[in-house]
């Protein structure tokens, strides 16, 4: 499997994502945002950073980058399309995922490890994880506060599209475990088919014990696992 890691001007997590994918044996290649062709790639990751400076609004300019044409086509074709942090914001802005990410409740940037409760294994980010698992993954964002219309959140909940919720280290989902004010403590979601998925915390920052956690491995491992499931349905 070969994964395209998209580089917008202002993206800064591209090397980290490529490094993490490499560690789990997945072939990754950086692709500049002006590319209009993703043939030969089996999946796409939109990594974190500040695409186009986050000017106007996070993801608002990135959605018009030429690469988003083929990214949208791959999403429609059922290939894994993953957005991490700023990449999640771009997916929302591009309409590939519902809702939006707004400024954190306390109006300050948050960089710290958080705990996530895995809610659903039906996505390209969670196919290799058991629901109920509690993972420790670093969060690093100013606009990490997930919002959507009440009926949108209701539909996501009903349809099992909420992938992760912020929780405490025992897995309890509570207001005090919500770092940024996200509705329903939502940290990540997927589309109906499960192939397009986004989350605010950074799994690529949790792939080596020397850096404090290896819980991100299973999330990134879900990309090839999901692709294999789609190719060979059980």
């Amino acid at each position: 499997m070969k994964v395209a890691v998209v580089v917008f001007p202002g993206t800064n997590c591209e090397y980290d994502v490529a490094h993490a994918l490499d560690l789990i044996g997945v072939d990754a290649e950086l692709v500049f945002h002006q590319e209009t062709n993703l043939s030969g790639f089996d999946a796409v990751v939109l990594p974190g950073g500040f695409a186009h400076g986050d000017y106007l609004r996070t993801g608002a300019i990135a959605r018009f980058s030429p690469i988003m044409g083929p990214v949208t086509a791959m999403a429609a074709a059922g290939a894994p399309v993953i957005g991490i942090c700023n990449g999640f914001q771009v997916l929302c802005e591009a309409g590939l995922l519902p809702g939006a990410l707004v400024a954190n409740r306390d109006l300050s940037f948050i960089c710290k490890p958080v705990h996530l409760q895995v809610e659903s294994a039906r996505s390209a980010l969670t196919a290799a994880v058991a629901p109920g698992a509690v993972l420790r993954i670093p969060l690093n964002s100013y606009e990490g506060n997930y919002v959507a219309a009440a009926e949108t959140v209701g539909a996501l909940e009903a349809n099992g599209q909420v992938l992760f919720r912020y929780c405490d280290d025992s897995g309890a989902v509570s207001e005090s475990a919500n770092p940024n004010g996200s509705m329903g403590n939502i940290a990540g979601i997927c589309n109906d088919a499960g192939n397009v998925a986004g989350l605010m915390p950074h799994p690529e920052r949790a792939v080596e014990a020397v850096l404090g956690s290896t819980d991100g491995i299973r999330l990134l491992q879900s990309i090839p696992t999901f692709a294999a499931l789609v190719a060979n349905p059980r």
Binding site: G10, Y15, D16, F50, G53, F109, N140, E204, E208, L211
Partner: protein, 724 residues
Amino acid sequence: MSQAPPAAAEPAHRQLGMTDDEYHSVVGILGREPRPAELAMYSVMWSEHCSYKSSRMHLGRLPSSAPWVVVGPGENAGVVDLGDGWLAALRIESHNHPSFVEPYQGAATGVGGILRDIFTMGARPIAVWDPLRFGHLDDAPNRYLFGGVVSGIAGYGNAVGVPTLGGEVEFADPYAANPLVNVMALGLLRRDQLVLSAASGAGNIAVLLGAATGRDGIGGASILASASFDEESGSKRPSVQVGDPFEEKRLIEACLELYGRGLVVGIQDLGAAGISCATSESAANGGMGMDVDLDSVPVREDGMTAGEILMSESQERMLAIVEPEALPEVVAVAAKWEVNASVIGTVTEGGTLRVRQHGELVAELPAASLSDDAPKYDRAVARPGYLDELWAAGITEAAPGDAAEVLLALLDDPALGDRSWIYQQYDHQLFLNTVVEPGHDGSLLRIKGTDKALAVSTDGDGRRCYLDPRRGAARLVMESALNVAVTGTRPYAVVDNLNFGNPEKPEIMWQFIETIAGMTEACEQLGVPVIGGNVSFYNETAGVDIYPSPVVGMLGFADPMPPAPPRLDRAASGMEIWLVGPRDVADFAASAYSRVVLGRLDGRPAPTDPELGPAVIATATGLAHLLPVLHDISSGGLGVALAEIAIASAIGLAIDDIGWSELWSEGPHRFLAVAEPGTLPALEVPAERIGLIGGASLDFGRHGAVDLTTATREWRAAIPRRMS
């Protein structure tokens, strides 16, 4: 009654901050009166900030050589060799006055400026640190400045995509009207990527990369950074530059790609003194001249004079020297990253810098004269009168008291309490190098693909240096070295940021010279070279000078990195607590105990020990490869150091019989080691077992005990409760 004649207008050179003598030197160099643009260039380049005219003759005393030094002081950044083709670049700067005038932009552009110094050398910037000093947080203006500066660092650093791995913070009255905002950056490069700023090869082309030039920051170096403040300083806001981290991010990527393709002969960043500095230094460093056409400089507004374009400190600009054949590819790389590239000049033989605007010659001067002929002052020196009285007043022991009361008061101090309110606003994990994060004595970064690691600590202590700048500065160097040693690295290189008051006062020059002496002694004792630094004078507002505030940035190096580097949170029940280093030094001068509990600042700080200091540091480096927890004992003494381990590890501890004064004294060269019983090897320096890890309280025996939950709560709230 006749009207008084109008006051004669101040001559132009004085308005630009230049003395009459300096003006006459310019006339001597040129053999004529300078043109307006020439006067502007000399005024900025000969400012204190750019020329180091008050400090230059003293800085040469600092030891700057070692076999592993690749580039020493004088270039944009110091560079050291890490072996196997790897080099590290390190640089520190101050952005004190801009941050007082406009805290967010002042701090933000400080980050931008230091990063350019690093990638000018060919290195990718991999981390930033921010040593900060403010007035007390009980006063609203100080909270505004502190909050604004932290936001500015976060806003720029996070968006530009370089992690901020910490720094340090101090709160004291003299910083209320003159906060200190220092910034240090580290870069990593392969040896064959090293680029220097010399412009060589007549006929080569000078390409201005990055942002358009505007009227922002005009005279920042001469007006803001090289003069004292008064009540009018608010009107200096237009001298503060405005930063654009997205422009800088694209500039970094474009420059690194240009280096990678071998397209650049030399490069210089545009910081203080803008185009004046970049063109003259590039030419002078290469022994060449340069013809510059200001009409080719993209400007933000019409009608800018030659002097304004030359002096502008607009951010996010670089000047690259390229061969004519390479120009199309240079332009293409810049276009890929959406970076403006404009040919503004040509390298010439002969050493003359010629600047034209609208076809007219606006400046013609020897390029090297802007730096080499800058004035050099041997300022008057006098020992301050306050010292004898303060030294005599010092205390040698702590008055009897209750451990809980003293410890909780210290943990609630914002300089001793939890600093995560600051560093959790900074991305401190990007690039996947951060092995030991902010909140420990030193941060530790691995170098991916190798067994090597770098540790960094920044340290300052204005109060101790006020009481004795020589001892204070030596203590700082030793403490900083110990901070990187407890992560398992050995002290490898130093950069220093010397923040002082008005150098025209003899007492300030005395503080400065004593500081240099103390740093020199300690660096020589440790065998650590000073590879770069910065001097910030005129940190004086309304006649009040700051404490003498040298800040040390220490780089530690390990190869291999310890298998499990010590952390504060790895203490576990049953482990032994050892105090390594001397036990009997009573040292309350500038201690946290004196300040927080007694409200006093007096006494003479204990000296460093030229033998024991380096021995303790070497011991720490060795033990870090064996033990789970090592912790430097510094501000707050043994009591606070113990509490920090207990809080981080979420487990209590019990201390054997120990003297009350020893809990709060701050003598140098001491650290705590936590070890499974029987695992501490024989050491060549004093070490004594002082207690055990376990329980739910900090138990100081006959001096009392503190519930760990209470201690943790106070410690965590120290900054947030004041800022909310």
